[in-house]
């Protein structure tokens, strides 16, 4: 960044009226500048601040480990879930984290297929975030089964017990949906990393670093054939990942929608869950990127325009989610089903009304601030709002799970759910794991897809150095030399013909 300090920053020159290509990366950076500003964070001495942050995050992850060990030793009873609320915080947290894990692959796959070139600056970090969020999510159902040591029973592995998973259960569909989403996301992320790994391999100065990065770069040389195969693989993986982005949270919503509990049994759930997942995932990307671009000096790549686009998506999906909340009420009234109506009135005005109105405020009302251009381009506003959105989305899952269960068909078994201390430490600990992994990512992996960013820079255009009249920019030398006029070229042509 030292060589660009005199340049206008991304935040200032948004209205300068540049063409589309120029506006994606600010600060008049060259290809080499991009390589330098991204790679150096994996190469330089680890800053003290990173150690402080890592120490904090990993001690929170240690809290997760302790909580889970305590839970395994004592059983699921250490959590607050019990009849009638048999699904307490673990399921709330699972859906919360899986939801966050939607942004990365959406940005990488769907926006790729729609040729949204602004995605290149954030897709690497967003995909990493996706992977880590899905890992955090998987912890909760894995330990919620109680006998975590036989969790492999959820997979259809031939066994002498002749025991197969219940294929009719949406919980099993969840196992397949989330695990295939994780695997495809991981492969997609890794394939996208290969050219950049080769870049840091070629820049590495120590033997060990050369070996490690060289191993993961899979012998990438940047040859034309490599690029051709890479582009093809990337496109195919994007095509494969796209339906998964939509299917995973649809299947997660089936956990609820397939059952016959009032408040759960609605056909609106799949699209409403997917919109909510994109909403929360984008909010998490904004939270992380606003901080990372500042600390790592990436304002010219992760520009204000990119953040604004993210905020527009948050506004759109937040409004879809809010519309779904209202539609649920309409359907409860329109269905004339007494139980359904009761479930929703109880949701908004019953003992959990506080949670319901937190959800409504955070998810429906707060994103509406993004209608104002000034607010959606303000770093403090978007940072605060992105956190508010994720608080709201956690409460959405809380409202759906808890309020629908706490009053079932028998008034004698009605209850009020309260989390335990271990519920809280497990949830806080999951954030520790998430940030631990994310900090490791920031330290050791190029956090911006360098090759892809270069691909959307103006210099990548084959006609960039061409003024349009066959002459290279800034000179009077013809860009394409006629063969007869240049004996050197003529010679080369003969050599080529002779082969």
């Amino acid at each position: 960044m030292d060589n660009t300090t005199s340049q206008p920053t991304a935040d200032q020159d948004h209205s300068a009226g540049h063409s589309h290509h120029e506006s994606l990366v600010k600060g008049d950076l060259s290809f080499h500048d991009i390589t330098e500003m991204v790679s150096r964070h994996t190469e330089k001495k680890t800053p003290l601040a990173w150690y402080v942050a890592f120490g904090l995050a990993s001690s929170m992850a240690g809290l997760l480990l302790l909580s889970l060990a305590y839970q395994v030793w004592n059983g699921v009873g250490v959590w607050g879930n019990n009849q009638p609320v048999a699904w307490g915080w673990p399921i709330v947290n699972f859906v919360f984290w899986v939801g966050i894990g939607h942004a990365g692959t959406l940005i990488s796959a769907i926006l790729f297929l729609f040729r949204q070139k602004w995605r290149t600056s954030i897709n690497r970090a967003a995909e990493a975030m996706t992977l880590f969020a899905v890992m955090c999510a998987l912890i909760f159902p894995t330990f919620h089964v109680g006998r975590v040591w036989v969790i492999y029973w959820t997979l259809p592995i031939p066994n002498q017990m002749e025991m197969w998973p219940q294929f009719k259960s949406p919980l099993l569909w969840d196992v397949f949906a989330v695990s295939s989403y994780f695997i495809v996301s991981l492969v997609f992320w890794y394939v996208g990393l290969i050219p950049d790994l080769a870049t840091i391999r070629d820049r590495s100065t120590t033997w060990l670093r050369k070996k490690v990065t060289g191993f993961f770069a899979l012998g990438w040389t940047g040859a034309n054939r490599h690029w051709r195969n890479y582009e093809k693989a990337y496109l195919l993986l994007a095509g494969l990942a796209t339906p998964l982005v939509l299917s995973v949270h649809s299947v997660v919503s089936f956990d609820f929608a397939v059952s016959v509990i009032p408040g759960w049994h609605t056909t609106i759930f799949p699209p409403y869950f997917v919109a909510g997942a994109i909403f929360s995932g984008f909010a998490m990307v904004v939270t992380l990127m606003v901080v990372a671009r500042k600390i790592y000096g990436l304002e010219n790549v992760i520009t204000m325009d990119v953040l604004e686009k993210m905020n527009i998506i948050i506004l759109v999906t937040g409004t879809i989610v809010g519309f779904a909340y209202i539609t649920e009420f309409f359907m409860a009234w329109y269905s004339q089903v007494e139980y359904e109506q009761y479930a929703f009135i109880n949701r908004a005005f019953g003992p959990y009304a506080w949670a319901y109105w937190i959800m409504m405020t955070c998810n429906l009302i707060s994103p509406q601030l993004f209608w104002f251009k000034k607010l959606r381009r303000s770093i403090p506003v978007m940072f605060a709002l992105s956190i508010v959105v994720n608080i709201g989305m956690w409460f959405e899952r809380f409202v759906i799970t808890i309020t629908s269960l706490h009053r079932d068909f028998l008034p004698s078994s009605w209850g009020y759910f309260e989390p335990t201390f271990i519920d809280v430490t497990t949830f806080i600990g999951s954030f520790g794991l998430f940030f631990t992994l994310f900090l490791l990512f920031l330290r050791f992996v190029p956090m911006v897809a360098m090759a892809e960013v270069k691909g959307v820079m103006p210099e990548a255009d084959p006609h960039y150095y061409d003024e349009g009249d066959g002459r290279a920019a800034g000179t009077s030398v013809p860009f394409i030399q006629p063969a007869q006029e240049d004996p050197g070229r003529n010679e080369a042509g003969e050599t080529r013909g002779g082969r």
């Binding site: 492999y152 592995i157 031939p158 066994n159 002498q160 017990m161 002749e162 025991m163 219940q166 391999r201 070629d202 050369k210 070996k211 060289g214 191993f215 899979l218 012998g219």
Partner: protein, 215 residues
């Protein structure tokens, strides 16, 4: 730039792909065999506090299983007999045997003998002895030839797949109720037809749904 890895590193991708495939198959086999009750628990033969000899009592003396395990017809649990049952005979026979010291101690102090359970089902699987014994499932079908075991060991895996084999085709395993406690029972030649007729007549329908045992 010199090459970082030698040329033979090119086989690594194919090797790892093949290794992953083979490893996957091997892993499934390992789980299938080594994680199975057949491998883990068949042959389990714990030391008992009293050297009670089933081979002698049930085999040579020909005592009926139900003399000691007398609840099997009526209860889910086949009881381990109380000291009282031992003393029915042993206050007359071998009253001074050192092997029976613990039994006499238990009798005198009114504290039960801590027998070690051999056939152990997981706590999420419910099994009723009564419904099996009263429908023609022989003791030896699950417990093996007790009359030949000096110290009892687990003869069958008692795994779910093993249970289901009989629940799906009970006609291959049932015997007349009066032969339930017989050891070394030999099926008559046409036993499958006999059993099928009995199943039809008595409406024996061993359940294979989850909640039959897991509730």
């Amino acid at each position: 730039m010199p090459q970082i890895f030698p040329k033979k590193a090119n086989v690594l991708p194919i090797l790892s792909l093949g290794g992953a495939l083979l490893g996957g198959v091997a892993l499934i086999f390992l789980v299938w065999y080594y994680f199975s009750p057949e491998f883990l628990v068949v042959g389990y033969q714990p030391d008992q506090p009293v050297e009670y000899n089933h081979e002698f009592h049930a085999g040579q003396l020909g005592m009926d299983c139900q003399y000691c395990h007398n609840w099997v017809e009526n209860a889910a649990h086949a009881n381990v007999p109380p000291t009282q049952t031992c003393m029915n005979c042993h206050n007359q026979i071998k009253t001074q045997s050192p092997k029976l010291l613990k039994v006499r101690e238990s009798w005198a102090t009114d504290t039960p003998i801590q027998w070690v359970k051999v056939h152990h089902l997981p706590d999420y699987a419910h099994f009723s002895h009564a419904s099996h014994v009263n429908n023609g499932v022989g003791c030896e079908t699950c417990h093996g030839r007790i009359d030949k075991m000096e110290v009892v060991y687990q003869a069958e895996p008692l795994s779910m797949g093993w249970c289901l084999e009989c629940h799906r085709q009970p006609e291959l395993y049932l015997r007349p109720n009066e032969e339930v406690t017989t050891m070394g029972y030999v099926h008559p030649e046409n036993f499958v037809e006999i059993n099928l007729a009995r199943i039809q007549e008595e409406g024996i329908q061993p359940p294979t749904n989850c909640s039959a045992c897991h509730y």
